[in-house]
């Protein structure tokens, strides 16, 4: 199986080129090859017209190619500064590292990005957003001639994205060539001059962004007309299923109270770091809250017990797919079966032959999963398809309440639309959905009700009617007193 075939991309200095394509189109694979991580079977990489054979990331770097990978590649135990300058520490007397100089350089870099992070702070305990920012700082520290960014904005919220774009523009003026990958199409139109569209590993279009609009781009990526991106059908809303009362976890969020009703999609909006994921984790019992209760259908849950939450009918599609959503090494079917272990038992109490495979293939077809074999490690799938597996394994538990944290993070438009359709379908069938999202269009497009969090509190509750960009943003940035 080939991930990419016969692809030609030209990056000119002073140009930002977008690489667009569905999940699994082969974008990251190309990035890996440009970065010298993976060796192409045929073809070459040319820099300034001459052929370069990259034997490893180091070669690519020396050739002036800097890369931001899709998943953060940081050293949790080391300080931000060392992460940025690893292997290039400034040396003092006797070839000893000069840590003062190191921290100074990195501080300047971070200031350029306009983030207040302490260079000496270990990367451990940084939010995904801050980790992504460190990645960016690292790439910038090279003053590279070629900058490749694989979905750098996936975990960033508005102002951080803006900062990033400003930096990219300055680089561009300085004559660097930039390759930018994102599933947020508006970003592509904001920052990119040209775009290469990839489908199933082949280039299907190469042109200037100015000469096309979103719909066309989508069409070229998906290869078909794509109807409405937010197919929200209004389901009739039933009685309340999930009640959260005065839920508090010191230092993360404070008395969070809300309810979700049958057939309702409630969005939890806010800036990255507002503590939304933590609320989700607490509801599902991953973290033990310091105070407050969670009630499902009138049954109060034992705090800190995911199993209890599952029994009560809660499902959680977590924010970090690779670390929390899936066991990458296990096969697709094993991952699917993981939430259904009790149900899969036959009368002998053992798991019947192929019962997992059956479960898996059912959901694979329901979700139109692109896969090779169900016994393949789920890690072989591309981001979007992995997300489908996660959804599948939770839908298989036929939950009453489904919490979805960043449902479409790193997922292409095609799949995005599918996921959204699925969500409203489920709501239609009377499922109560709590959706956490940093993408405003998604929030506005899908939610019946929007809860906006700011610094660990629910700043405001907005009905579908009142919810518009301005209201949400003002609440999220604390420009309104809690309603």
């Amino acid at each position: 199986m080939r991930a990419s075939r016969n692809v030609s991309i030209a990056l000119r200095s002073g140009e930002v080129r977008a690489l667009a394509g569905e999940n699994g189109a082969g974008k990251s694979t190309i990035v890996r090859m440009l970065a010298g991580v993976q060796r192409p079977d045929e073809g070459d990489v040319l820099v300034d017209g001459e052929v370069k054979a990259f034997h490893g990331p180091a070669d690519a770097r020396d050739a002036g190619v800097a890369v931001i990978y899709q998943e953060p590649t940081l050293f949790p135990d080391l300080s931000i500064a060392e992460n940025v300058m690893m292997g290039r520490h400034p040396l003092g007397s006797g070839r000893r590292i000069d840590f003062k100089a190191l921290n100074r350089t990195v501080k300047e870099l971070l200031d350029r990005l306009g983030v207040k992070l302490d260079p000496e702070q270990p990367v451990k305990g940084l939010s995904i957003a801050d980790q992504q920012i460190v990645e960016i700082a690292k790439a910038l520290s090279f003053d590279a001639r070629v900058l490749i960014m694989d979905e750098p904005t996936a975990a960033l919220s508005g102002h951080e994205v803006d900062r990033l774009f400003n930096v990219v523009r300055t680089l561009k003026e300085r004559g660097a060539a930039v390759l930018f990958i994102s599933h947020r199409l508006d970003e592509i139109f904001t920052i990119c001059d040209t775009v290469t569209v990839l489908r199933d590993g082949e280039v299907t279009h190469d042109g200037r962004t100015a000469e096309m609009d979103t719909d066309e781009l989508v069409r070229r990526m998906v290869g078909r007309e794509l109807s409405n991106l937010f197919p929200k059908v209004d389901a009739e809303i039933g009685e309340s299923v999930l009640q959260v009362e005065r839920l508090t976890r010191e230092g993360v969020f404070v008395d969070i109270s809300f309810e979700v009703r049958r057939g309702e999609i409630v969005a939890l909006a806010g800036l990255v770091g507002a503590g939304r994921s933590e609320v989700a984790r607490a509801i599902f019992g991953i973290d033990k809250p310091d105070a407050g209760t969670v009630t499902v259908d009138g049954r109060t849950l034992k705090p800190g017990s995911p199993t209890g939450a599952m029994k009560a009918g809660i499902g959680l599609v977590p924010e970090d797919r690779r670390q929390q959503g899936l066991v990458m090494e296990l096969s697709i079917e094993r991952n699917m079966g993981l939430t259904r272990l009790q149900a899969l038992r036959n009368k002998l109490g053992v798991i019947g032959m192929g019962s997992e495979a059956k479960l898996a293939s059912d959901w694979a077809t329901k979700l139109q999963l692109k896969y090779h074999k169900l016994s393949d490690p789920v890690g072989f799938l591309s981001g979007g398809n992995q997300q489908k597996v996660v959804l599948g394994k939770w839908l298989a538990t036929s939950p009453k309440v489904l919490i979805i944290d960043e449902p479409t993070r790193g997922i292409d438009v095609g799949t995005k639309a599918e996921v959204h359709r699925l969500m409203s379908e489920l709501a239609g069938q009377g499922l109560a959905v709590l959706m956490i999202s940093s993408e405003l269009p998604e929030v506005l497009g899908m939610a019946d009700r929007v809860l906006v969090m700011h610094e660990g509190r629910i700043a405001r509750e907005l009905s579908r009617e009142e919810a518009d960009e301005e209201n949400v943003v003002r609440a999220a940035t604390g420009q309104v007193a809690a309603a």
């Binding site: 135990d77 292997g87 000893r96 702070q121 508005g158 994205v161 800036l271």
Partner: protein
């Protein structure tokens, strides 16, 4: 506009600073708390038994810790790269015997014996390193294997032969007994090795890269670090240090047969653990490791001098080891909660 806001103050800022200050203290705290525990122990024991503090005893403690501490230093290099070297005991054993043979059968001059021993140990380090780094297989298994193989070769070579103090030059043996200004000679070797390794790990690019590898091996590759080479290097260093330890062992214990240093690797690992070097790589210092070794040695000597029933010694040793790591984890947990409570003032 895609996401939810224009310029807004990132909540990170205040939090970040508090974190740093705390993290720093934690990092430093490790060595500090070890020294604290050590001090308390010494004071308590010498109150109960003043002779604990007499010169001879202190010198003996130093001498006893010399070899384990040395191994712990070597072990640290490997452990920060998220590996482990269980074969050091066997390497020490076979090098010690080799030392004996060099003196007894070929009367090699003392300096050459030291060099020879270190190189000898390094060779085994290479074997371990090549298998771990190039074949990319778990070091725990590899070094468990070489632990057997090397010890087996040792048995085979010695085949019941014993080399006694009489077969070795007095100049060599006296290293273990002589003092420079009241300070025993043998531990000086360990101290020198410790300082060198300490500086390399802490202040050189190579050293930092070792930590990086241990912290996140995949990222290390992407960062263009020559992981294979570095890991190999770490094992060679550990082997060489085990070799040196073997030579010192010979000079200290004089009687050499195939069982020398059997099981000592567990002491080395214990020392490293107590010394706060994370078993999963990425953090920890040689100073910590050495202090850990010193702590354990002091405890053992204390048990003897307090005339504890020999049958109880081992049990107490084990219990104390558990106590040490348990306490450490507990403090870490408390601190994590502190951190959260702190940041809550912001909310």
């Amino acid at each position: 506009m895609s996401a939810s806001t224009q310029a807004a103050p990132t909540p990170a800022a205040p939090r970040a600073e508090e974190k740093t200050s705390w993290i720093d203290t934690v990092v430093r705290a490790r060595e500090v708390s070890l020294i604290g525990v050590l001090a308390i122990l010494v004071i308590a024991v010498s109150l109960a038994e003043p002779r604990f503090l007499n010169a001879q005893n202190l010198r003996d403690i130093l001498l006893n810790v010399t070899i384990v501490a040395l191994l712990a230093v070597g072990q640290t290099i490997v452990v920060v790269t998220r590996n482990i070297d269980l074969s050091v005991g066997s390497i020490l054993g076979i090098t010690a015997f080799a030392t004996g043979v060099m003196f007894a059968d070929h009367n090699v001059p003392i300096p050459l014996v030291f060099i020879g021993g270190i190189l000898f140990g390094a060779c085994f380090g290479v074997v371990n390193g090549v298998m771990v780094a190039y074949a990319r297989v778990p070091s725990l298994v590899i070094t468990l294997g070489t632990l057997y193989v090397i010890r087996g070769i040792d048995y085979w070579w010695a085949s019941g032969r014993q080399i006694n103090a009489a077969d070795m030059p007095d100049g060599f043996l006296s290293l273990a007994t002589q003092n420079i200004l009241g300070f025993p000679v043998l531990p000086l070797f360990t101290i020198v090795a410790m300082v060198i390794v300490g500086v390399v790990l802490g202040r050189s690019r190579t050293g930092r890269e070792l930590y990086a590898i241990g912290s996140n091996p995949d990222a290390a590759v992407l960062a263009g670090i020559r992981v294979t080479r570095r890991v190999l290097g770490a094992f060679v260093a550990s082997g060489a240090i085990a070799g040196l330890a073997g030579v010192l062992y010979a000079s200290r214990y004089g009687t050499l047969d195939a069982v020398a240093g059997n099981g000592i690797e567990l002491f080395a690992v214990s020392a490293v653990v107590v010394g706060g070097v994370a078993i999963f790589g990425g953090s920890g210092t040689v100073w910590g490791a050495a202090l850990g070794a010193l702590l354990l040695a002091t405890i053992r000597s204390a048990l003897v001098i307090l005339q504890v029933n020999p049958f109880w010694e081992q049990a107490i040793n084990g219990a104390l080891l558990l106590l040490a790591i348990g306490l450490d984890a507990y403090l870490a947990m408390r601190l994590a909660r502190e951190l959260r409570k702190r940041s809550s003032h912001r909310v």
